[in-house]
């Protein structure tokens, strides 16, 4: 009986260990080793920090790195600002069937792939696209307007892509908030703003933080949206990694970039948790 339980434990542990080791730990070790190689000649490599040095001495790479981080944080904040009222409405204001319908409506865009969704935005925003034609038809613009290929287009794409990943955790945490607590807040003389600040937001904090982490990671690691919607000014760090690996055949620098991205995202998520005084256990629970 006892040994049977132990076998069961190891059997259940095996997929997890295999998953972690084969798909996460070993590839990262390999990646780290590649990033420590420096090409000194044809088929000649030396161990050195040269690739990391290149990253820190070339202002372009640092700029792209910082830009990607700032844009991702901004996308996370905008997503939160849009998703919070939506979630509050779904979780607390509508009831019954309509609640489910609204929730499914948030989900529907994710039935198609990200590529198709991004193409959809391109059709809407391009110079000969729907929005431009509509503006001309209503007389608000007297010539075609180009709304694609700029940072605003990237931002729209990122927020749209990650909306669902903010709405789901928010709705879940908000639903667990007892209505009587909100009523008690009003009974004790609170107004809409103070109830939101003192009761709803503190209760929703774990949902806000976990949603923000997911949205931030998705934006930071997004390749498709910035490349397709950003055009000639799309500078995104994942694109640089792709370029180093595929176009330049420079795996060594690409691997170093990959590691820098890993460090960056870990640091930002860690400081986000510290700042909001949330722990990872609470957030993921």
């Amino acid at each position: 009986m006892h040994s049977g339980a132990r076998i069961g434990f190891f059997l259940l542990l095996t997929p997890l260990v295999l998953w972690l080791a084969l798909l996460i730990v070993i590839p990262h070790i390999d990646m780290f080793l590649v990033s420590m190689r420096e090409r000194v000649g044809v088929r000649q490599y030396e161990t050195s920090f040269a690739n990391y040095l290149t990253f820190f001495t070339e202002p372009l790479y640092i700029r792209t790195f910082v830009r990607t981080a700032v844009m991702s944080v901004l996308a996370t904040i905008i997503t939160l600002l849009i998703a919070f009222p939506v979630s509050l409405y779904i979780a607390k204001i509508v009831r019954g069937r309509l609640q489910q319908v609204l929730f499914v409506l948030c989900l529907i865009p994710f039935y198609v792939s990200e590529l198709v969704r991004t193409f959809g935005w391109m059709i809407l925003l391009r110079e000969t696209g729907l929005v431009s034609n509509l503006l001309q038809w209503t007389g608000l613009a007297d010539q075609p307007v180009e709304m694609l290929y700029n940072d605003a287009a990237i931002m729209i794409g990122l927020v749209y892509t990650s909306m669902l990943f903010m709405v789901v955790p928010l709705v879940t945490t908000l639903e667990s908030l007892d209505d009587s607590v909100i009523e008690a807040g009003y009974d004790l003389g609170g107004n809409g703003f103070s109830v939101l600040r003192e009761i709803i937001i503190p209760h929703a904090a774990p949902g806000i933080v976990s949603g923000s982490i997911v949205v931030f990671m998705l934006s930071l690691g997004n390749y498709l949206t910035p490349t397709m919607l950003g055009g000639k000014d799309s500078l995104w760090f994942t694109e640089m990694i792709y370029n180093q690996f595929i176009v330049r055949f420079n795996w060594e620098l690409g691997a170093a970039f990959g590691f820098m991205l890993l460090i960056l995202s870990s640091v930002i998520v860690w400081s986000m948790l510290k700042l909001t005084r949330q722990s990872l256990e609470e957030t993921m629970a």
Binding site: R39, V42, R43, L60, R63, T64, R126, E127, T128, E146, L148, Y149, T227, G231, K232, L235, M240, N243, Q244, F245, I246, V247, R248, F249, N250, W251
Partner: protein, 356 residues
């Protein structure tokens, strides 16, 4: 228990499926879109009994894929002739071609010899030519022909916001020629090449405000030109000819400084497992009537001797309109890219992309 048996059977069947997909009867072809049309594959499979699996790609991805596996996963690949010696020296991803198994008589001799010469490493030949073409300017002649005669004219204020090009190495090379320099002559001298590229970099940064977007894929460019959002672009000849069929104003124009000529080849990946099938495919598609089918699908001419006779008249007419005899003589054929040159170009391209 019964469930387990079913599972086991399913797994072993799946494994068997993977194994049989890689046996010697299958030719795994890594190629460009249009180079292996369905009808040609059917004819080949019916005649030889081999099965053909096609993966579509481009130069950089082909080399990256083969590098990742050390030259495995595919039995035949089709990179351009200038991208063979460099990657071979650096990564060793190809194996030599046994010329005795190739039916040399089917090739245009001058092209075969030039490609063999350009793909020779340590006395071994690594590539034979297949499809060739050029890159130059695709434009709406009604709207841009007066302004745009050469690559650098894409920076003219008259076409501001209505031009496009790729942010890739052909653009750097094309601009260098249009600016009166000869980048191919500087291939062997890294310092001279860097200096030349920094001039091109300044020009491209200067030109950036004029560009609508840097196109990435052929379909994206087609959309931009067809909708009229872009009136002139640096692109492949076939792109212009395809659009010409829809809109007679749009066509391919060889730039004043010369179109850039490329030849896509056949190479054998180092760990290819179906060399016989690969040789059979090469000899099959170089037959004039088969080569003409590939020309019809890809829009480019092949190195097959006598295939011109089978080509469509419309395509021939477009070719002759784009290439008067002096423009053919002016084509700049890419010489082999020395290993390490990409790093210089990569830095330039990154800085252009980042410039405001």
């Amino acid at each position: 228990m019964k469930k387990q048996t079913v599972m086991l059977t399913a797994v072993s069947l799946a494994v068997a499926g993977f194994v049989s997909a890689a046996n010697a009867e299958t030719l795994r072809l890594l190629t460009w879109g249009g180079y292996a049309p369905e009808d040609v594959i059917e004819l080949f499979e019916a005649e030889t009994g081999y099965t053909v699996e096609v993966t579509k790609s481009n130069n950089e991805e082909m080399i990256a894929k083969l590098r990742a596996t050390g030259g495995g996963g595919f039995d035949l690949a089709q990179p351009s002739q200038d991208r063979i010696t460099g990657p071979q020296l650096e990564f060793g991803i190809y194996k030599p071609i046994d010329m005795s198994k190739i039916d040399k008589g089917q090739f245009i001799q001058s092209m075969l010899e030039a490609t063999m010469g350009n793909t020779t490493v340590e006395g071994e030949v690594y590539g034979v030519p297949h499809v060739w073409g050029t890159s130059g300017l695709v434009m709406n002649t009604a709207m841009a022909a007066d302004t745009v005669k050469d690559y650098t004219d894409l920076c003219d204020p008259a076409v501001a916001g209505k031009v496009s090009y790729r942010l890739k190495r052909p653009t750097l090379i094309g601009f260098a020629f249009a600016m009166g320099m000869d980048p191919f002559a500087a291939y062997g001298d890294a310092d001279a090449y860097s200096e030349m590229m920094s001039k091109v970099e300044a020009k491209l940064i200067d030109c950036k405000a004029n560009v609508k977007t840097y196109w990435g894929g052929g379909d994206e460019l087609m959309g931009l030109v067809r909708s009229g959002e872009v009136v002139a672009s640096m692109a492949w000849d076939t792109g212009g000819w395809k659009l010409n069929a829809d809109n007679p104003d749009i066509t391919f124009v060889a730039p004043a400084s010369g179109a850039l000529g490329w030849i896509d080849t056949f190479v054998l990946p180092a760990k290819g497992q179906a060399d016989d099938a690969a040789y059979a495919w090469i000899n099959f598609v170089m037959r004039p009537e088969i080569a003409a089918r590939i020309t019809a699908a890809a829009g480019n001419f092949t190195a097959s001797q006598g295939a011109d006779a089978f080509a469509e008249d419309a395509l021939k007419a477009r070719y002759q309109a784009s290439f008067p005899p002096e423009a053919v003589d002016n084509i700049k054929w890419y010489p082999p890219v020395p290993a390490g040159l990409e790093a210089i170009e990569g830095g330039v391209l990154d800085r252009v992309k980042a410039a405001q």
